[in-house]
Symmetry: C2
Subunit: 427 residues, 2 copies
Amino acid sequence: MSAASESNGDIVQTMQGLGRQARAAAAVLARATPDQKDAALRAAAAELERRSDAILAANALDMEAGRQKGLSQAMLDRLYLDAGRVAAMARGLVEIEALADPIGHVMAEWVRPNGLRIQRVRVPLGVIGIIYESRPNVTADAGALCLKSGNAVILRGGSESFHSSTAIHACLVAGLEAAGLPPAAIQMVPTRSRDAVGLLLRGLDGCVDVLVPRGGKNLIARVQADARVPVIGHLEGLCHVYVHASAEPAMAAQLVTNAKMRRTGICGAAETLLIDRAALPTHWAPIAESLLAAGCELRGDPEICALEPRAKPASDEDWRTEYLDAILSVRTVAGIDEAIEHIACYGSGHTEAIVAEDALAVSRFFHDLDSAILLHNASTQFADGGEFGMGAEIGIATGRIHARGPVGAEQLTSYKYLVYGSGQTRP
Amino acid sequence: MSAASESNGDIVQTMQGLGRQARAAAAVLARATPDQKDAALRAAAAELERRSDAILAANALDMEAGRQKGLSQAMLDRLYLDAGRVAAMARGLVEIEALADPIGHVMAEWVRPNGLRIQRVRVPLGVIGIIYESRPNVTADAGALCLKSGNAVILRGGSESFHSSTAIHACLVAGLEAAGLPPAAIQMVPTRSRDAVGLLLRGLDGCVDVLVPRGGKNLIARVQADARVPVIGHLEGLCHVYVHASAEPAMAAQLVTNAKMRRTGICGAAETLLIDRAALPTHWAPIAESLLAAGCELRGDPEICALEPRAKPASDEDWRTEYLDAILSVRTVAGIDEAIEHIACYGSGHTEAIVAEDALAVSRFFHDLDSAILLHNASTQFADGGEFGMGAEIGIATGRIHARGPVGAEQLTSYKYLVYGSGQTRP
């Protein structure tokens, strides 16, 4: 369907239909056994492998349209699929299958003096709306994570990846059908119309329990402005590394370089380095050499620029910028207080690391900062559900409500209380 | 201040000021020690006792205005304070002081194969906006719970209780000051203007992290429609008791009567009784006698009305009504499937109880229903944070996001991850 061929009334009807079907499927999925869900994931993985050629053909259509539309090379890279990437998607599904099933887990249990036994038990959230951009693999990952956690999902990907996502989605549906689960458990918005997003944000008449946006600032801003249902937000990762005067210089250079350069395009990549003035004579040279050798552009404050002629001057805007590129802003601070103040002012509450041997400084950093993830003597690039041992994730939540940090299958759940009595009345 | 004397610009400025001060106070409160918070609660309790006369004088103003405004007797009852009720509020603060401090608690801890040690640690949510109706004691309870959990709070009570709440709020502020904590940790909206609520719902420029509405349907509906920040919702409690054919008749009569009649005005009070057709000959008479003897009006389906001439006929509207009064709707069902279907259709997802000796029926009821609280052979009136052993609460959340069931100090928190490394970089 093309947007031009549809009236707004058609879209409203289509979207309300998705909502109702998702709600009905969620009720079935909430009662599905772990084996059924796992069978669906295995079957979907097999379908991805089997239909790899069809997926690549669909992707070629998207790539061609993207080139004609003049998408940037970075966007085309994100959009592009080859046989290896399709196989990786299939492996991702098998990895999600291997995770523990969170549903039905007794999270806590206790007995009251009157004999009532109380259990807090995990249940799915219900229906999740996922709004994302051009990476087609999110279709597989997000669909599979929602299935594992017993949630029905309505996927709305970027219009650039429409054909690729449609082909991938068909594999997920085939997996559901093979396992005897309702195909509406994983639905994809079947139109590129932007009106559909607006309807999804308003919750489809109570049929959507939570929205998970994945993407850039503009997408997140729109979702936060227009959503009428709860949002699990993944804001930018403006991550900091703070090198305290007590840091080991060699470790500092390794950690800063890894935090910035291992992969520059992920949300856990460091964007700003804060370094103690007292550490400049001893620590700065190895850090700068290591970063420059790795191909990193440096943007420094006047003290840094005076020490390193290859550094460009940083503006206030640099402290606010998530480069997602081989660029690092560097600022000299008087000590831990100024570092904490800088991060509280400019950070996005995602991930920050301190490199230090001084235990008091670490304790201050951990206690006084309030980002989702704080690390001591470790790279910010560990900000990842898999690296945390929590399994696949659909992002790092920077909000404070419901889930914070990596959002995996367990975080896509709610709970209910089961109370076992023997005739107790309340006096 | 009266609404008439204020321009909208004044209110905007006032509210933004509250927001900024709350945000600053939250940062201090997040680092406050348990002792400091407890000292503030003790001092506030002492102030409530000491200023009891002033609070009662303020309450007399509210009561007089309420009578002139023609408030119902039930509303005047909720508004009314006497020395005993003020003393009970003070005791409530001391009880909250005695709760375990949730902040800083290590919720989970594990070590990764690469040696990274990961802790998930409780932190406050930040700034909470609480919007409630005429009970002045909510001012003390909600303010104290937010303080215990390290959150700054902006309280907006019903305009009818403005003078009472102002006097109570002054005691909380005195407590904060006595403990050296910022008085802006507990603020009250200083105007009765309804515009102030609209501004609070929009989050005061990012200064409010979560809203907790407490009140009737109209209030909740407005909050859900207009809120631009996450809401922890407390919807109505349309609670059901289902008497299965296997129930012990005497226990069923006791539990139904307690669930309905112990206190009819609380959200955990039962509103609808579902009874197996097969149980009617044996179970209905003792249940009906017990309810009628306790002064309960019965509204039944045709089968019930045929058995009990004192029952009035129930309309479809009755299945949707939270009476909060001595009225019970009664419906005959063919068995557990029809009971589950009825509750899924008409229930509010709050609390439901099954009375049964048959383990399979209980298991079906617990598994297939998805209310926040499900009870077996126990009264729905146990739906209460204190009764669950979770301490004081500001309500029973019926939403699925963040907190569900009783919302106490622990539920008013988020968490962060602390990661302890020794130089790990990500390969």
